[in-house]
């Protein structure tokens, strides 16, 4: 197991290094650079200004030199400087990354808590009215655009019935007396975006659980378990669900890897201070350093959660060996 993990980690580092250069190169091919944006906002910028700024930012260097400068900084722990916000990348990205993780994990947890029991229930009652109602609920979530659902929730629960704030991450300018007050305040702002994100994912998880359970419950070992006189709960959860779990692990771990970038639209609609919108804006604004760090985190998340999935398979099904 240890050898497997070390081997995979080394592979991960190599893949990240190769992909980072590829991505850096692609970004340099995009039209425009940060200086072009400055020209747009100030037509009085002269050609001397343009040449000076390109030199100062190193934009007049060949791609490989720029990449090397950037990578050297990363290896020394310097994530670079955001040309958009004019502050170090770590300063702008750190808090936003935390916010995104909180939102994404909360919505993922809510989605799983609702989707798995409903998926199992739906599979056990396949073809009944209950199954159809749950199916309708699932498909409505899958097919609903998140920006539309977000707007509906804002109008319903922030404008018509002002139970929740229309947007933001926390109450501004309030001195919270205790950590509990901070937690409840943040939770208050999390409700609508979490529900939006969760509702979109529930359908996917629910349908996946349902089909995996249907498949598992048709197997001979289920009939054997029932013939042995095991209780219905044990048959469903220990024999049926455990076997359905393998495909669910793949689905959920891949979803974990996407939490970093999957909330862009929801964050924008709710003015939630997450990293999704930051990533989008950085690409649009040619803010290379922010975009590249975002990319590195995304790739790392995908590779690391794939590794976690592989490890979890062996726990879910002892027949799978990692050696």
């Amino acid at each position: 197991m240890t050898n497997f993990i070390i081997r995979r980690l080394i592979q991960t580092v190599i893949v990240i290094a190769l992909l980072s250069y590829f991505c850096f190169y692609l970004m340099t091919l995009m039209p425009g650079d940060p200086v072009d944006l400055m020209i747009q906002s100030n037509p009085r910028i002269t050609s001397e200004d343009v040449a000076r700024l390109r030199n100062l930012y190193g934009l007049d260097q060949p791609t490989y030199v720029r990449y090397w400068n950037w990578m050297s900084g990363i290896l020394q722990g310097d994530l670079g400087y955001s040309r958009t916000y004019r502050i170090p990348v770590s300063d702008i990205m750190g808090p936003k990354l935390v916010n995104t993780f909180v939102l994404s994990f909360a919505s993922l947890a809510l989605a799983l808590i609702i989707a798995i029991p409903l998926g199992v229930w739906s599979a056990l009652r396949a073809g009944t009215k209950t199954d159809y109602v749950i199916g309708f609920f699932a498909f409505s979530g899958v097919s609903m655009p998140s920006f539309w659902l977000g707007l509906i929730l804002i109008i319903a629960f922030a404008v018509w019935i002002p139970w929740f704030p229309a947007g933001g991450t926390e109450t501004i300018g309030v001195d919270h007396g205790s950590w509990w007050s901070i937690v409840t305040d943040r939770a208050y702002y999390l409700v609508l975006p979490t529900v939006t994100l969760a509702y979109i994912s529930i359908g996917r998880f629910l349908r996946f659980t349902r089909s995996a359970m249907l498949e598992a419950m048709r197997n001979d070992y289920i009939r054997t378990a029932r013939a042995k006189g095991l209780s219905r709960v044990v048959v469903i959860w220990q024999h049926g669900f455990r076997n359905a779990l393998l495909s669910l692990i793949t689905m959920v771990t891949l979803s974990f890897s996407g939490v970093f970038s999957g909330a862009t639209i929801t964050e924008t609609v709710f003015a939630y201070q997450g990293v999704g919108k930051l990533v989008y804006d950085s690409i649009i604004a040619n803010d290379f350093n922010v975009a590249m760090i975002s990319f590195m985190i995304s790739v790392s998340m995908v590779l690391i959660f794939n590794l976690i999935a592989d490890i979890m398979y062996s726990f879910a099904d002892p027949r799978i060996s990692l050696s």
Binding site: R44, L56, Y85, W163, Q273
Partner: protein
């Protein structure tokens, strides 16, 4: 069912309690949709940052919403006439005396002095600092003062230019705080700006000299401001201002109605959103005012003068005659924007609509047809289009994809040009491609629609001088994206810079307008209106209509029932 009843009841009870517009001076939450950066006045480039900075920082002078230059930190604007400014003996430079207000202080109580302006100049002139438009600062060659009178500054200017005293963007830096950072990092590329106190600790006392000071900044989220007790002017009435970023314009209205924000700044609603919201204000008797003010933002169509069809001035003139801009403004903008007849807005002293001075193009399909006939483009009755030597009169029309207003304008104009036999093919691109490559490298087939933001009495050098045609040689800088060349216009532009007589200067500017309207390198469309939505209780708010934000007067704002 019981739950449903509770929900319905809840809806009825609460639907009528939409958060009312703010009516107390305790707090005002302003919504903006554009991102802002760190508030170092030398480094900032974004409009939203300037908007916020105008609440906390002041310059020597600024442009008022009436379009007049007024003092801020300065006691008086030096001019040649009032003898506070004079030419150097060789007439190449100007020497001006700027007196700083005796009570002008930084937010830690330290006085604003000449040394702060001199320090800003030193920092801005460094090759290691990424100031955007360096000439804003380096137009001043030297700042000197007597130690006994640290608020009486002598500015020696690099060149003798008439607008030497329009130093609205020459902002001082608090030397007593930033000098240490500068000394430590001045030799590192971008070292100063990365380590500036504005960056590391933006709420440090002493960084600001305006009516407010920063109490909290969260980039990408909000800025909280509280009154600066050391402000030289009248104490601001509103006790706390929160500027909140709502990145999605679609949710601005919901945020306003739910009380998350109290007003939408000029950096918020798009024009059509504001028009729609104004109708709701009237029909639902909401406690807001939708404010519109014609601005100097000039929406226009650049004509690619390297296009063989558009090289013919008759075709260019015909294109202008063929469009009914009054109808466009009425149909698409409820008459709330102003038709443009050239690149100078009616709020600019250089403006003229005198037909003796410029060429006007009233809507006339007949005149358009006549000019096209003269140019050899004959109408083919079979398809209603014009042809010359077997070639169809067809032009490409580009703008920024996804901009609903511009795309609607395109469709409107396309129809009008078709009615005189001109085929127009629309091809739009994302803004970053459109502005980065297409307009600069003149890769647009015929016409490119976008806007210029400028200021009154702004030299047209960057957009009309032939030296500003973007090319590989000049690193694709300059904004003469039409490739317009007129030696006479170049000469007048050079003359304007050094013409100190305002009447003569206006005459020169209008001479350029004559060429501009005669030769039609650009089709003028309309001057955009600035829009904002404010609570009816907010008094003292004025939209400026130019690049200096409405927050320059924030100390006059108050919320009264």
């Amino acid at each position: 069912m019981k739950l449903l009843k509770v929900l319905v009841l809840g809806l009825f009870v609460t639907a009528s309690v939409n958060a009312p517009a703010a009516v107390s001076n305790d707090e005002l939450k302003i919504g903006i949709t554009q991102e802002f950066e760190n508030l170092n006045p030398l480094i900032m480039t974004m409009s939203a940052t300037t908007y916020i900075y105008s609440m906390v920082g002041r310059s020597l002078v600024t442009l008022s919403p009436d379009g007049k230059w007024i003092t801020q930190l300065a006691k008086e604007i030096p001019t040649i006439e009032n003898k506070k400014a004079s030419f150097s003996p060789d007439k190449k430079h100007i020497v001006a005396t700027w007196e700083i207000l005796d009570n002008a202080k930084w937010s830690d109580g330290k006085p604003v002095v000449c040394a702060d302006f001199d320090f800003a100049l030193t920092v801005a002139a460094s090759p290691n600092v990424s100031v955007g438009e360096k000439e804003t600062y380096t137009q001043v060659k030297k700042i000197s003062w007597d130690e006994k009178t640290p608020k009486s500054c002598t500015f020696t200017y690099e060149k003798a230019k008439w607008d030497f005293n329009q130093l609205a963007q020459f902002r001082p830096l608090p030397k007593h705080l930033e000098q240490a950072v500068w000394d430590k990092y001045k030799n590192q590329k971008e070292g100063y700006e990365k380590n500036s106190i504005y960056n590391k600790a933006p709420s440090t006392p002493g960084l600001y000299n305006g009516p407010y000071k920063i109490s909290e900044v969260k980039l990408g989220s909000h800025v909280t401001l509280v009154p600066n007790e050391h402000f030289y002017g009248p104490a601001p009435k509103i006790k706390k201002i929160i500027v909140k970023l709502i990145p999605n314009t679609g949710t601005l209205e919901a945020n306003l109605r739910s009380g998350t924000i109290d007003m939408v700044s000029s950096l918020g609603f798009s024009f059509d959103q504001a028009v729609a919201f104004e109708k709701k204000i009237k029909s639902e008797s909401l406690g807001y005012n939708a404010q519109f003010k014609p601005s100097i933002t000039y929406e226009h169509i650049d004509l690619n003068l390297e296009n063989p069809i558009l090289k013919d001035v008759k075709v260019r003139k015909a294109l202008v005659y063929a469009i009914n801009r009054d109808e466009l403004i009425k149909a698409l903008f409820d008459g709330k924007q102003q038709v443009a007849i050239h690149n100078v807005s009616p709020i600019d002293p250089w403006y003229t609509n005198d037909p003796k001075k410029i060429t006007l193009y009233p809507y006339s399909k007949r005149e358009a047809g006549r000019l096209l006939d003269e140019a050899g483009w004959k109408l083919n009755n079979a398809d209603g289009l014009r042809y010359k030597d077997g070639k169809k009169l067809s032009l490409q029309f580009m703008t920024t994809a996804g901009n609903k207003t511009r795309e609607t304008v395109q469709t409107f104009l396309q129809g009008q040009w078709k009615s005189v036999g001109v085929e127009v093919n629309i091809k739009n691109e994302p803004a970053r491609v459109f502005f980065a490559d297409t307009t600069k490298k003149r890769e647009y087939g015929g016409m490119a629609m976008y806007a210029w933001v400028s200021s009154p009495e702004n030299s047209p050098r960057s957009v009309l001088h032939s030296s500003n045609i973007p090319s590989e040689k000049n690193g694709w800088s300059g904004q003469n994206n039409m490739a317009y060349v007129n030696k006479k216009v170049d000469e007048i532009i050079e003359k304007i810079d050094t013409e100190f007589d305002s009447k003569k200067r206006t005459a020169l500017a209008q001479e350029i307008l004559k060429y501009y309207t005669d030769e039609v390198p650009v089709i003028p469309l309309y001057y955009r209106s600035d829009v904002a939505v404010t609570p009816t209780a907010l008094k003292g708010f004025r939209l400026p209509g130019h690049q200096f934000a409405e927050t320059n007067e924030i100390e006059n704002w108050s919320l009264q029932k």
